[in-house]
């Protein structure tokens, strides 16, 4: 048991003690948590990321939902403490299944168990990893001339993410902390995070990483914690600029926001995950016009998402305000692969050089 785990164990025990104390006094058990909604995220000028503000929500046993969540909390803390003591770990999914035996405390969806794990993070100021909980899936893949030294079954080993991997790239583990994951970089000049696998493959085929000394990170949709953590370390420790290249739709804007500003759900660990200097390459609403890209009409959900973003404090700067309004006005969205309209090489020969030059990256 290391120090971090000891702290976690003590903090989780404290939660159970508080509930017990309430009951013993004859009070209604209650927990105070930061309100995890977009109304309660504030910009922290020190770290340049968005974190939870001072608004709290009170969870009490007065409602079925509150009482059930509290019961689940009691079961979950007990379960985690046992894992810490016995030096075991489980995936979030495994915890979800273990809850089958918890009767009334059983989770009905994995979302519920994931949310509870995050709740415990915010209350204890510990990390999920300290709770010995890990995601079951791997994270993003990276491709480019960089060396990672990481733990394998045969001990620590060094991989070059271009020479030692196939074209699918190097799969990064769920924990990319220094203790088990070292970065050694000589040649890479900047990092480009990509939303789609199609674009990832296109850039590799076109030889873009080699030519521009670029490290490609395939996000596969919403970036996981370890992906964002890796981007943060590459930026902070290696001083590499991060650019994000996604589709041109409201959901892609949110992918960028979670990388650059911090995600609402994980705002309690924003300064650990967010990369405030990350830049958005595209596809922007202006790109759709300037490059005359093939488009799709916005769906009702898209429009709702864009409108919600207008009231999201993370998007409240001039750039995003203009982009979001422009997209709403033209009522169109475009995929990053729409650039293929001008040929397969267009993205690497024209679009990216133009955009990256403007941004001062290339």
């Amino acid at each position: 048991m290391n120090d971090r785990q000891k702290t976690a164990l003590e903090s989780l025990t404290k939660i159970a003690e508080d509930i017990y104390a309430d009951l013993e006094k004859g009070d209604i058990p209650a927990m105070r948590l930061p309100l995890r909604s977009k109304r309660n995220i504030e910009f922290d000028p020190m770290t340049q990321v968005w974190k939870y503000g001072s608004m709290k929500t009170l969870r009490t046993a007065k409602t079925t939902q509150g009482a059930t969540t509290m019961l689940r909390t009691a079961y979950t803390t007990d379960f985690i403490n046992e894992m810490i003591r016995e030096d075991k770990s489980s995936t979030l999914r495994e915890m979800y299944y273990i809850s089958e035996g918890w009767n009334r405390a059983k989770f009905h969806t994995q979302d519920e168990s994931n949310l509870l794990a995050e709740d415990l993070e915010t209350v204890t100021h510990c990390m999920r990893e300290d709770f010995k909980l890990r995601p079951e899936e791997g994270s993003a893949h990276v491709y480019g001339d960089i060396n990672f030294r990481t733990r394998t079954k045969k001990g620590m080993k060094t991989f070059n993410c271009m020479d030692d991997v196939a074209e699918t790239g190097f799969g990064i583990p769920y924990s990319v902390e220094k203790e088990t994951f070292e970065i050694k970089n000589d040649n890479i000049k900047f990092v480009m995070a990509l939303e789609t696998g199609g674009m990832f493959a296109r850039l590799i085929e076109n030889g873009f990483p080699e030519r521009e000394n670029c490290l490609l990170v395939h996000l596969s949709g919403q970036p996981t914690r370890s992906t964002r953590r890796l981007l943060k370390r590459l930026n902070e420790e290696e001083g590499l600029p991060i650019v994000v290249f996604t589709d041109g739709d409201p959901w892609s804007f949110r992918i960028f926001a979670s990388i650059a500003y911090g995600a609402i759900k994980t705002a309690h660990i924003s300064d650990y995950l967010a990369t405030p200097t990350a830049q958005f390459v595209g596809i922007t609403a202006s790109d759709i016009l300037n490059y005359d890209l093939p488009t799709d009409k916005l769906s009702d959900k898209d429009i709702g998402a864009l409108k919600a973003e207008l009231s999201d404090p993370r998007f409240s700067d001039e750039f995003w305000d203009t982009e979001i309004r422009a997209m709403l006005e033209m009522n169109k969205k475009a995929e990053q692969q729409a650039l293929a309209k001008y040929g397969l090489d267009y993205v690497t020969d024209t679009y990216l050089p133009e955009k990256l030059t403007q941004m001062g990256i290339m």
């Binding site: 009951l23 969870r59 009482a67």
Partner: protein, 680 residues
């Protein structure tokens, strides 16, 4: 034919007026109806089969009521060929005397009720003979009729009757006396007719079921063509209040009526005719009418003729006359409507019977009428689709022409959304698990046609229906509110009985400490006095109990009030624990004194007899305590007749549950939903 047309040049046979006259002959009423079957409702085969049963059953119920027998009616239908059925209807009515039988069954427009003014089912006397005639025409077979009148030595008579359509006279064969074993009195009619038997909303079964609902004093047995037997048992032995005959009201007179009525008057003068042959008339009013009509009050009513009658009607229109008396009406009454509904619809296990409403009588065109309404809600009543509307006129179900009926129109005018039912745009039939019953009773129900299938729209009737429906709907709404409140409290029960003990056990186990006592916490979460009815069936009745929990942090004293049906008062009530007192009408009260926090007590009693089912255990009232602290009972209404216990405690010890936090948490969850991010 005129002479102005060009005379035919050809030596064609010229039809003279004389010859035409030879061809014209009197068309009998019977013949007219034969050619206009739809007027009577015999326009389709499915309908004509139903109409026959309907006419016979209506007559049986009327006859039983008049002679005060509790009706026992047996309807049998057997398939005898393709689209051919043998129908038999037997009752235990007073029977028909031998000499009247041919005319009752074999002559149209023959009946005793033609000039009587009171509420009855068959209003025109066309029905049963039309059925005989239709059967006659469609199969060529006469109807078989048997009847026995009351009395020990009376023999029964049977005969076959057909209708001569040309002369509107019965043709009788096989007329003979017989001994009807086991029958004290009653009538049987059997006929074979073309028809089509159907199931569903316009079926004979539905008609009989609905008849049973509004005639809870009747027992109806039905043998369908598949050999199945359904019995709608008598729900009460109380006969409907017998409608009195009244004299016509002047405002109800039409020209034909007036000519007829005045010519038959035995009074010497028009003034006396007005004064004595009508209801609600005074000498002063009679004079006033004569003056307005410019008719000599001393002239003979038999000399009025057409002109005089017209003038008289005009004169009547210009004076104000009191509405007709209403003892000629026999509404079903709220208690019996509820009984009828409960008895017949028990299979659907409705969750709620809104207290039925009987409006006080009003008049339209000199005819008194009254409106009754009831609503049943929930249970197994289908929730998808529009509500079921049951329409009745003078205790007869109306199954056809729903769209043309003033009842349908009135139901559509109510904004049901305010009362907890869905309704598109606040108009039209509402949607949801409900059955709406509306009964219009009148000395003369204004039907849209002779088929008596829909009630015509009169603003006076429509208003009354709307008023009755709104009263019922208000009861429904308060029930729905109650249920809503209850489900919230049930949620709290889940918390304190399930989740909280689990939570205490789990944290205690985790910390290696003893399980804490939860009663204080439970009281704080519930913060109510909880009253829960427990209903049990026992031999010959039901046991009603109330569990009363004090889930608050301090002791409470209060009174519980129930409306026990007066007929059901018994020792188990008055001798039971906590009983305080009861009034003549069954209003009873129990006193709970200083019920300590986190404890419970039980009140329990038995109800037996005919009226036991009409008691609704969910109608509980309390006094002496702030009603917002109580779940499962309402504040004692002002019209209860007694003053309840005064509230002695101050209101400020009730902490209103501010749900801000709950909302906030819900909102936060919602946003998290919106911000879906894979955070593995």
């Amino acid at each position: 034919m005129g002479r102005d047309g060009t005379p035919a040049a050809a030596p064609a046979v010229r039809i003279t007026a004389e010859k035409l006259a030879d061809k014209q002959h009197e068309i009998s009423v019977t013949e007219f109806f034969e050619k206009n079957k739809q007027v009577l409702g015999f326009d389709s085969r499915t309908k004509s089969l139903l109409m026959g049963v309907k006419e016979a059953v209506d007559n049986s119920l009327d006859a039983c009521e008049e002679s005060e027998f509790l009706p026992d009616i047996i309807v049998k239908i057997t398939n005898t060929g393709e689209e051919e059925y043998k129908v038999s209807i037997e009752d235990n009515g007073p029977g028909i005397v031998h000499r009247a039988m041919p005319n009752v069954f074999g002559r149209l427009l023959y009946g005793s009720r033609f000039h009587a003014l009171r509420q009855s089912r068959g209003q025109q006397g066309i029905g049963i003979s039309a059925t005989v005639m239709f059967a006659n025409i469609s199969t060529g077979r006469p109807a078989h009729v048997a009847s026995k009148t009351e009395g020990l030595d009376a023999v029964a008579w049977e005969m076959d009757i057909a209708v001569d359509t040309k002369t509107n006279r019965p043709v009788v064969t096989n007329d003979k006396a017989f001994s009807w074993a086991g029958k004290e009195h009653g009538t049987l009619i059997e006929y074979v007719t073309k028809g089509r038997y159907i199931r569903g909303s316009q079926s004979i079964f539905e008609y009989l079921k609905e008849t049973a609902i509004v005639n809870p004093h009747a027992r109806i047995e039905f043998h369908d063509p598949d050999g199945k037997t359904y019995v709608f048992e008598r729900a009460t032995d109380t006969m409907p209040h017998k409608a009195k005959e009244i004299k016509p009201h002047p405002k109800g007179m039409e020209i034909g009526d007036m000519m007829n009525y005045s010519s038959m008057s035995e009074e010497k003068t028009v003034k006396d005719f007005l004064k004595n042959d009508f209801c609600r008339m005074t000498p002063r009013l009679a004079d006033e009418i004569c003056t307005k009509a410019k008719i000599d009050p001393k002239s003979s009513p038999r000399d009025l003729g057409r002109e005089g009658s017209m003038a008289l009607i005009k004169g009547i229109g210009e004076v104000k006359i009191m509405d007709p008396p209403s003892e000629c009406l026999s509404p079903i009454g709220d208690v019996l409507i509820k009984k009828g509904l409960m008895h017949t619809l028990e299979g659907m296990r409705p969750e709620y019977y809104a207290t039925p409403v009987t409006r006080s009588p009003k008049a339209v065109n000199g005819n008194p009428f009254t409106v009754e309404a009831g609503i049943i809600y929930g249970g197994d009543i289908p929730a998808d689709g529009q509500v079921t509307l049951m329409r009745f006129a003078n205790r007869v179900p109306l199954l056809y022409q729903q769209g043309a009926d003033v009842i349908t129109k009135a139901v559509g005018e109510v904004d049901w959304r305010r009362y907890g039912l869905e309704q598109r745009g606040g108009k039209g039939l509402p949607y949801g698990p409900a059955i709406i019953l509306v009964h219009v009773a009148s000395t003369k129900v204004p039907f849209t046609s002779e088929g008596k299938e829909a009630i015509a729209t009169f603003p006076e009737i429509e208003e009354e229906i709307i008023a009755a429906l709104k009263l019922c709907a208000r009861n429904l709404k308060s029930h729905l509110n109650k249920m809503d409140k209850k489900s919230k409290t049930h949620e709290k029960f889940d918390i304190v009985q399930g989740i909280l003990p689990d939570l205490a056990k789990k944290v205690a186990e985790q910390l290696g400490k003893p399980v804490p006592d939860l009663s204080q916490t439970i009281s704080k979460i519930m913060n109510v006095v909880w009253i829960e009815p427990v209903k049990e069936r026992i031999d010959g009745g039901r046991r009603i109990s109330y569990d009363i929990y004090n889930y608050t942090v301090r002791p409470h004293s209060f009174m519980i009030h129930l409306q026990i049906p007066a007929e059901c008062m018994n020792d188990t009530i008055t001798g039971g624990a906590f009983f305080d007192s009861a009034k003549e009408d069954g209003k009873s009260q129990w006193l709970i004194k200083d019920l300590p926090a986190s404890t419970s007590v039980r009140i329990s009693f038995e109800l037996r007899g005919d009226m036991a089912d009409t008691f609704d255990p969910d109608d509980v009232y309390i006094s002496g305590i702030n009603p917002v602290m109580v779940m499962g009972a309402e504040s004692l209404p002002g019209d209860w007749g007694i003053k309840g216990m005064k509230i002695t405690e101050s209101e400020d010890d009730y902490i209103q549950d501010t749900s801000d936090e709950e909302e906030e948490e819900a909102e936060a969850l919602e946003e998290e939903e919106f911000e879906k991010e894979a955070d593995e």
